[in-house]
Symmetry: C2
Subunit: 145 residues, 2 copies
């Protein structure tokens, strides 16, 4: 069942969309909860879903050499996961696994890509917010180094 668009606008990324644009994205979005230690997506797999984390913690892992999936970061409520599924070559560049019980909104990446391409203004607005979010994440990471 599509989610209420009000749940979507809790995420900064969608805050500046018009009501109609927000409803269109909400149509592609479902709510889901997961137990701890659930793999949301795997590095290298086809990117089919974007996860908006409403509650809980998720760890990000990279395949590093022979070590296999290695923890590189932990993200919390408000974060968006799986952004690489919006861009060519449409594969996940990391793995993500829940560290606690989590609540998420899940957006169908294929459908969102189609919507963003068809409605260029919507695509432009969402990508602008994504860039903002990624720039903020870079600030946080640099300050941790």
């Amino acid at each position: 069942m599509p989610t209420d668009s009000k749940r979507l606008t809790r995420f900064e990324c969608f805050r500046d969309l018009s009501d109609d644009q927000c409803s269109a994205v909400a149509e592609l979005t479902n709510e889901a909860c997961f137990y701890p230690q659930t793999e949301l997506f795997a590095e290298g797999a086809e990117g089919s879903r974007i996860y908006l984390l409403s509650d809980g913690e998720v760890e990000i892992l990279y395949n590093i050499g022979e070590e296999g999936p290695t923890h590189v970061d932990t993200v919390g409520a408000g974060e968006i996961l799986g952004c690489s599924s919006l861009l060519p070559p449409y594969v996940y560049t990391s793995s993500a696994r829940s560290l606690s019980p989590i609540e998420t909104l899940i957006i169908d990446s294929f459908a969102l890509r189609k919507l963003m391409e068809e409605d260029c203004n919507l695509g432009f607005a969402i990508q602008g917010q994504l860039i903002q979010m990624l720039l903020d994440r870079i600030v946080d990471l640099r300050l941790e180094l």
Copy 2:
């Protein structure tokens, strides 16, 4: 004098643009060299220029508490600096200073924003490449932690 669009397409961010789109961006772009220890932009200042680094090294600094500008990262050839000037509130979120002699392309941020808004497909394409670049930068930063 506007730069040759071939110099622009050396940067991944502009590689997928059509010839016409690339020429339009090249019209807004100039070439410049700077001595070491030149401040390219300051955190909090109005974002008026994007720098594409062709050669040399630039350090990124953040104002942290009472310490003042503090080194947080070093970037090299191929990197793009000042992306935050493309997004509201259009101010630089960091300072940047050359560590060596550098060669850059400089794009007028105001004009590029206008062009991206007027030609939504161009805007969407450039944003997509920026997102790709920021995702790559996040991978690098996470691996350094």
